[in-house]
Amino acid sequence: MNLRFVGLLAWYYGFRTIIRGPSYIIASLSAPLTLLFIIYIISAGTLVKYAIIGGFIGLVASVALSSSGDAAFFRLQLRIQDLFVASSITPVDYILGLTMSYLVFSFPGIILYVALGTYYHLFTLISALALALILITLVMSTSAISFIIASSIGHIRNVWGIAGILSVVMTVLPPTFYPYTYLPQVAIYALAISPATPAAILAQGVFHLAPFHMGMAYFMVAQTVFYYALARYLTRWRQR
């Protein structure tokens, strides 16, 4: 693995986007902040902590899922992926580099949510570390899904539409912004296809907002490994 390349791609594509295209940060923050506002108003502030924790997860997941648009754009329009295929750059380096770039790109939003969480006295050292681990795992699994979607999109005209649908369905429907205990068990199983579901259930447990569910930690790790393996199997670096 070429960690220098992974780090440089993450820094250039993540950090440079923040510096040179700040409107994208506002765009990525608009949905979770709007939901935070709505939840605050509707619940008269009682569910605001769910919305803040959900904001971390919604932000990271939606940024990583929207990345399917970028990855497809690189492949179909810019032809950057073809350039990389015919070199010593490996698909793992490329996927990881893009994944890490979305994590870097999420930093301004994460900082904003850290400020909100601090204001509402949400954090302890342990819970903050646990949340960081959850978010790193989440960005890895959602990026793998993104890459699978990006590889299967055949035409550039479908790229942003599919990325948008995916981002909403996989981050807003799961119990990201509301207590997972509101859902029947069968709905949790169905929504577990989205990595945001185990991430949200775990995070709500870690922050004592709902019962802690250790099984979800194992499930989330297994799910990440599964989606990465699926991405390696389904996406072809050299085309047939």
């Binding site: 070429n2 220098r4 390349f5 440089l8 791609l9 250039y12 594509y13 440079r16 986007t17 040179r20 295209g21 690189f74 329009q77 810019l78 032809r79 950057i80 073809d82 350039l83 990389f84 295929v85 015919a86 070199s87 010593s88 750059i89 380096d93 050299r238 085309q239 047939r240």
Partner: protein
């Protein structure tokens, strides 16, 4: 040295893009010419390990493109057709990222990126976002990657498509600075004439002609091309234009209004062979 043996490519939709291409390419610059859809890009993508052939074999410097792909990739650069830089990144960042991806250290990549970008006269633009660059400069960013990678074989797929004449000349100048074997595809005959030591003409997925420009044009020795909109019994018809080849000494007969007399170029190989097959 590139050697192909009966390369066939059949896509999933049944389209056969290559019908058994057998070639030896060992000149410094080879231009692969042909009409749109002739199979040029498919051939380049197969040779540069981006696409699997349906059958047949190919080697680059003795290494099999299927069995030794990872070894081959260390020593080739392939610039895809209509490749475009990422708008928010600068030329310097593109070249450095690419070189680091190829295994260079940060400092070596920075040094090589600076040298190649300066060499291609991108010095004053190298730290500007790529979406502020002209089309020609964007193409030169990719040529800079090829230049700085220090590889044996470089594939350029239609490197000047869509560029204005000045930008094309800038890119030509950049291509001339590349070292190693260069295989470029183009449907601009002047580009093939200007840049290549050898020309391979492909039509319908088959090799029609191969040789240097002089030998390929030897069949037109002593001839000129006459173009007219006046219907001709003999000659080729392209839309409302009629083309025929006459001896230089007979050209005077066509100096009247409605006729154009043109010097023989690679266009004529393209026109005569391509049109003959189309008809």
């Amino acid at each position: 040295m590139i050697r192909t043996d009966e390369i066939v490519k059949r896509y999933r939709n049944g389209t056969v893009a290559l019908h058994g291409i057998t070639l030896d390419l060992d000149e410094r610059v080879t231009a692969v010419i042909g009409m749109n859809g002739a199979g040029k890009t498919t051939l380049i993508r197969i040779l540069s390990t981006q696409l699997e052939p349906t059958s047949g074999k190919a080697e680059i410097n003795g290494l099999d493109i299927m069995k030794n792909a990872s070894q081959i990739r260390k020593n080739i650069v392939s610039i895809p057709q209509e490749a475009s830089p990422i708008g928010i990144l600068t030329p310097f960042e593109h070249v450095k990222l690419y070189l680091v991806g190829r295994g260079m250290s940060m400092s070596e990549a920075e040094r090589n990126a600076n040298i190649s970008l300066d060499q291609l006269e991108l010095r004053e633009f190298k730290h500007k976002p790529s979406d502020t660059l002209s089309g020609g400069m964007k193409r030169k960013v990719f040529v800079a990657m090829a230049l700085s990678a220090n590889v044996d074989t470089i594939f350029l797929d239609e490197p000047t498509t869509g560029l204005d004449p000045l930008s094309r000349m800038e890119v030509w100048s950049a291509i001339r600075q590349l070292e190693g074997n260069v295989i470029l595809t183009t449907h601009y005959m002047d580009e093939a004439h200007e840049l290549s030591d050898e020309v391979v003409m492909i039509h319908g997925g088959k090799v029609l002609e191969k040789g240097n420009v002089k030998s390929l044009l030897s069949r037109f020795k002593g001839l000129v091309r006459v173009e007219t909109t006046v219907p001709q019994e003999k000659g080729l018809q392209i839309g409302r234009l009629y083309i025929k080849y006459v001896k230089e000494e007979d050209a005077e007969k066509y100096l009247g209004e409605g006729y154009n007399i043109k010097r023989i170029t690679l266009d004529d190989l393209f026109i005569s062979r391509g049109m003959a097959l189309e008809s």
